[in-house]
Symmetry: D3
C-alpha cells in the first residue's frame, strides 16, 4: 500500500520530480531475534516506520540497507549466533556516506535515516558528520531510531505485564515482537515465545565474548504479553512524533 513511496518502483523521471521532498533511508540488520522472530526484524521495522512517516510528509523511501553493524551480546545477542551477519564499522560508514553523496548529487537536501538496529548508531553518525562537512547548511541529514522518540507514557502502556528492561535489552522482546505482530504477523512464531528473565545490562565489554552472558535462545527480555495491538500503540505514537522532529529539523 506504500508502493508509490518506494523509489525502487519509480522510473528515473518520476524520481527526479521528488528531489525537493524528504528522502528516507531505512537501515536495519540481519540478526538473530530468538526462536520466534526472523532474521529480518530490524529491516522490516526500519522499512515499515519509514513508509508510514514517508506517507505523512510526502517523502520517498529508498531501498533499505539489510545488513548493519555488529550485534553486541547485550543489545542483540552478539556475533556467536548463526544468522547474525554483520558489517565492519567502516563498511557501514562508507556505505552510508556513498548513498548520502548520491542523494545530494541527485538534488535532495533533506535526508532522513531511520535505523532499527541499536548498534548502527555510531557509524551512521560518523558518516553523517563527514558528509555534512562537505555540504554545510545546504543539506540537512537527520537520524532517528524508532524507539528514542517514543513518549514515556507509551512505555508504561506497553510494559503493563513485564518490566521495561531499557532499550539495549529490548531485543526480540515485547516491543519488537509486538511491532512484528502488527506489521508482519506471518513471520512471528507465537508458540515459540517463552518466558525468560530479563538479562542484566552490561557494565563492561569483553572480547572474546563470554558466551554465558547471553541466554541460549538469544532473547534478552521476555516477549510475553506482546500483541499486534501494542504494536499499533507504538506506531501510532512514534510516527507522529518523528513527523514532528522531521518538520522542525528540516523546517
Amino acid at each position: 500500500m506504500y508502493e508509490n513511496l518506494k523509489i525502487e518502483n519509480m522510473t528515473w523521471q518520476e524520481f527526479e520530480k521528488k528531489k525537493d521532498n524528504v528522502i528516507i533511508l531505512p537501515i536495519g540488520a540481519t540478526e538473530q531475534h530468538g526462536p520466534h522472530l526472523p532474521l529480518c526484524v530490524d529491516t522490516i521495522l526500519a522499512q515499515e516506520f519509514a513508509y508510514r512517516i514517508g506517507e505523512k510528509i510526502d517523502g520517498v523511501v529508498a531501498p533499505a540497507l539489510s545488513y548493519g553493524y555488529k550485534s553486541k551480546p547485550l543489545s542483540g545477542g552478539g556475533p556467536l549466533f548463526p544468522g547474525t551477519i554483520d558489517l565492519n564499522g567502516i563498511t557501514l560508514q562508507s556505505l552510508v556516506m556513498d548513498i548520502i553523496d548520491e542523494f545530494v548529487c541527485d538534488g535532495f537536501t533533506k535526508i532522513l535515516i531511520l535505523s532499527a538496529h541499536f548498534e548502527n548508531e555510531a557509524f551512521i553518525i560518523e558518516a553523517m558528520d563527514l558528509c555534512s562537512r562537505k555540504y554545510g547548511d545546504k543539506v540537512k541529514i537527520l537520524l532517528t531510531n524508532w524507539w528514542d522518540p517514543m513518549s514515556p507514557d507509551i512505555i508504561d502502556k506497553v510494559f503493563d505485564k513485564v518490566p521495561f528492561p531499557g532499550w539495549a535489552l529490548e531485543h526480540a522482546a515485547v516491543t519488537e515482537t509486538s511491532l512484528m505482530m502488527y506489521f508482519s504477523p506471518k513471520l512471528v512464531k507465537e508458540d515459540k515465545i517463552i518466558n525468560t528473565d530479563n538479562v542484566s545490562p552490561a557494565t563492561y565489554f569483553r572480547y572474546p565474548i563470554e558466551k554465558d552472558i547471553v541466554p541460549p535462545t538469544g532473547v534478552l527480555a521476555s516477549a510475553k504479553s506482546s500483541s499486534a495491538e501494542k504494536g499499533k500503540i507504538i506506531v501510532d505514537n512514534v510516527v507522529p512524533n518523528i513527523v514532528k522532529i522531521v518538520k522542525r529539523a528540516f523546517g
Copy 2:
C-alpha cells in the same frame, strides 16, 4: 512462493541447519532503466534468478544488495541520470568481503553470488579473491551474472525482431524488459516503450562524461518486441545452466 528460501524469513535456529547448503547472495543496483522500467530492475532480476536457482539446489538466499557499483554511460546510462545511486568500488568490495566473511563464520562453505548489474563484476571479484586467500580450498565462492550462462540459441530466439546489441548495451532493452514483464509485470509501463536505435558501444572512456553519447531516455537499445514469454524463455534456459555450473563448481 520462495518464502522458505529467504534467510530473512528464518529464525537463527532454522538458518543454522542450512549451513551445509549453498548460500546465494543476489547483488543488484539502484539505476535508471528508461521511462518504462523502475530503478530496481537489477535487484529484482538478481533476486528472482536467485530464488529459482536456490529452489533447484536446495540453497538459501540472503537479502540482496540493492546498491551496486557505478553505472557507466554505455552499459547503464551512467551517473548523470537521477535515480542512479551508486557505490564507490571500494565500498562494494568491502561490503561483499564482510558478508562472505560472515557466511563463512556461520559455517557456510559454498557461496554463490548472483549479480544482475554489469558494472559490479570487477569489485565483486576483487572481494572474492581477497576472501579466498584467507580460506583456501575450504570455501568455494562462485560469481555469475544471469546473462553469461545463456545458451547462444536463446539469444537468437529472444532477438527475433531487433538486433542483439551485446550485453553491455542490453540495458532497459529486450532482455531486461522481458524479464521484468515475466517477474513483475506491474512495474513495467509498456506504453512508455519507444523505438530507439541501438547505441554504439564504447571504444573509450572519458571523464567528465560526455552527455550526448547516451540517449536522453537512458535506454541503450530498443525494448520493442519484449514480452513475458521471452522472459520465461530466458529463465527456463539460464536457471538450469547456472544450476549445472553450481553443481560442477561446488561438486
Copy 3:
C-alpha cells in the same frame, strides 16, 4: 604516588617483568567542560581511575590517549566549542588496535581499557573486536567506562540535591565536577559553577548541528552540589566494582 604503576616511568627491563600482569590503557578526550572545568577532564578521570584500579590488581598503566572520538552536542557539547579536539572514528580505532597489538607482541594477555569519554565506546569496541579475532582466547581485552559499574545507590547519594540527568547528559555536571574536586582541585574554578537546567536528552541526531540545543556554556546539567566528598564516594564505589569485573573477566 602511583609512579611505580606507570609504564612511562619504567625501563624496558622493568616493564618486561610485568607481562603476566594486567595492562591498563586509559582513554580520555580533549573536550570542553564548561566554564569551570579544564579541557583535560576526561583524560584525568581515565588516568586516576586507572591508577587506583591498577594499584589493587598489581596492574601497570600505559600512557593515556589524550584525544578521543567526536564530542556530540547532547553528550559533550559537540564540535562547535573551541578546545574540543576530536579524532575521526577510524583514527581512534586504528590507534587502539595498534596499541593492543603492541601489548600482545610484548607478551601481555590481559588488557583493560578504561574510557572516561562517552563517545569513545563504539570505536574502541570495534578495535577490540578486530584485534580479538586475531588472538582468540589467548588474549582477553576488557573495556569499562568509569560510570557504568557504579552501584545504583551511589547515584542516589551523589544526586541528593539535583536530579540525575542520565549518563549522556552528565557532562561537566555533578559527577565530573566532584571527581575533579577530589582528584585535582586546583583545576576546578568553583566560582564559575552556575545553576543550569538539565538539557533534554536527544531523540534524534541532525547534521549540521543545531547550535541552540546546547547551552552556550557547554554545561549540560547543573554542577551545583558538587564536592570532593562526592568524588570520593564515587571512587570508593567504582574502583572495587571494576576490580571485581576485572578479576572475573580475566580470571
Copy 4:
C-alpha cells in the same frame, strides 16, 4: 626514435613547456604470456602505442606503469603462473589517482591513459571518476585499450587463419604475438609458438581458481599465423583511430 616524447628524458624546464599538450600514461602489466612471449608484453604494447599516438598529436609520454591489476584465468592465465606479478585493485586505483593529480598540479588538462592489460580497466576508470569529480570540466581524462578502437575489418584480416576468440581470450595469441614481432622481435621465441585450441570463455568466476580451466602453457588461443606484418596492420589501423578519438574527446 621517440626519445623526445618521453618525459623521463626531459629536464623539468623542457617538461614545463609541454603543459598545454596531451600527456599519455601507458599502463601495462607483468604477466605470463606463454612460452614464446616475455612477461613485459603488456607494458611494451602500452608504450609502443603511446609513442606512436604521442607523435601524431604532439603529446608527451610519461613513464609506463609496469605492474597492473590481477590477471584472471580466462583473460590472462591468472595468478597461478609464476611471473604474473599483480597489484590489488585499490593499489592500482591509488597509483593512477596520484599520478593524475600530479599531472593536473603541473598544469596538464588533457590526459590520455593507454592500457594494454584487459583486467586494468575497472580500477583505472574508478580512479578517473574520483579524480574527475575534483576537477570538473577543466580536466579531461581519457582511457583507451589498444584493441577496442580497432576497425572490424582488421579483425578479419588478422584472423585469416585462426578464429578470433574474443578480446578476453586474445592472450599471448595472434594479436599480441604479431604486435611483439613488429615492435620487439628479439623478445619473441617463434619456435615456442605451438598449436593450441581456443579456450572457452568464462560464464562464471570461481575462487579458489580451478587450475584445469587454463592450458598449462598459459596460452589461451593459438598464436599460429602471427607475423610482424599483421602487427603493422594493427598499428596502422589503431593509431589513427585513437588519434581521432583523442581529437574529438579533447577537442
Copy 5:
C-alpha cells in the same frame, strides 16, 4: 611552572582567546631507552622543549602524543625490546592530520609540531603536506625535531669526552641522558649507565630484524659523561634557535 601554557588546563573560554597564538603539538614515543632511562624519554623531551619554546613566543601547548612511529634498530633499538610500543605509519599520519584539522577548525593558523623521536619524521610530514593542500597559505605548519636546530659548537661542548655518533645513534646516549638529568632527574638511574662502544650506523635495512646488530641493553652509544649541566647547555641553545625559526616561519 608552565601550567598556564598547557591547553589541557584551560577552560574552553580561555583556549578560545589564544587562537591567534602559536599552538604547539609535542610528539614523543613510548620506546626502550636502555637500563638507565624510562620509556617516556621522547615524550618528556618533546614536552619540555615545547613548554620552554611556548613560554618565549606566548604559545600554547597541546597534550603530547605519547606513542610514535616504529622504532628502528639503529636509531632506537627497534621493535624487539619490550616497552617499545609503536604505531603503524598510517595511524600516526591520521592522528596528526585529525589534530591539525581540529586546530584549524578552532581558528588557529600557526601550528608548531615538536618531535623528539627520530622515526616520526616522515609520517608527520606526510600529514602536514596533506593538510596543507586543504588550507593553502592561510595555515602554516612547522615541524622541528629538537636536535636539528642545535648549533654545531654545542655538539663539541656536549661531546667533550665521548665521540658524537650522529643523531640516529644518539639514542639513550649523552644528549638524551643529559636532557633527562636536567628535566627529570628522578627518572634517571645513573648507576645503570654503562660504558658501551658506539654502534655502527646502518648502511641498509633488513627484515626480519637482525637481533645481533643492537647491543642487548638497547643503548646505541655511550651515555658516560652525561650531566644535567650538559642538558642545560643544549636547552639554552636549542630553545632560542627554534624560537628564531618559529618567528621567521610564521612571521
Copy 6:
C-alpha cells in the same frame, strides 16, 4: 647487456627457474634534477645499480618503479617544480607491499630493494615491516640506497673540487651527475651545469613550502667537477659493497 637479468624479458618458464635466486626491485622517482639532468635520474640510477649487483650475485631484476614518494625542498627540490610527479606515502607503501607479496607467492625468499630516491625510504621500510610480519624468517627483505654503503674514502675522491654537502643535498650534484655521465651520457646536458653554492640543510620543515629556500634551478649543490670517471669510481666501490651486504643478509 644485462638483458638476461631482467625479468620483463623472461618467459614465465624462465622466471620460474630463478625462484631460489635474489630478486631485485629498483625504485626510483620522476623528479626534477635541474637544467642539466632529466626527470628519470633516480630510476636510471636504481636500475643501473640493480643490474650490476644482479650480475654479481646471479640475481634477477624486476621492472623498476618509476614514481616515488614526495620530493622535499631540501633533498629533491620539492613539489613545486614541474616534472616532479610524486606518490602519496600510502600509495608507495601499498605498491611495494603488493609486489613483495607477489614475489613471495611465486616462491622467492630473498628480496633486495634498491632505492635511488632519498625520500622513498620510510614508506618502503613500512611496507617491508608489514610484509615481514606475515612471512617471518622464511623471507628476507633488504633495502639499500646506493649511497649509504659507499666507503668514506670514495667521498673524498669524488669531492676533490667541491665540498660534500651531505647526502640529502647531493641532488642533481656531483654524484648524480657523474653517475649519469657514466651510465647514460646522452641524457646529460653538460653545458647546462652551472656553478651554484651549496644550499643549507634544513633544520625544520614548513608547509606550505617556502619557495625561496630552493634555488630556482632546482640544483641543491654544485655539479661542477662531475665526470664519467667519478661515476665509475662510485660504481666500482658501491657495487661490491652492496654485494657484501647482500651475501651477509641473505647468507
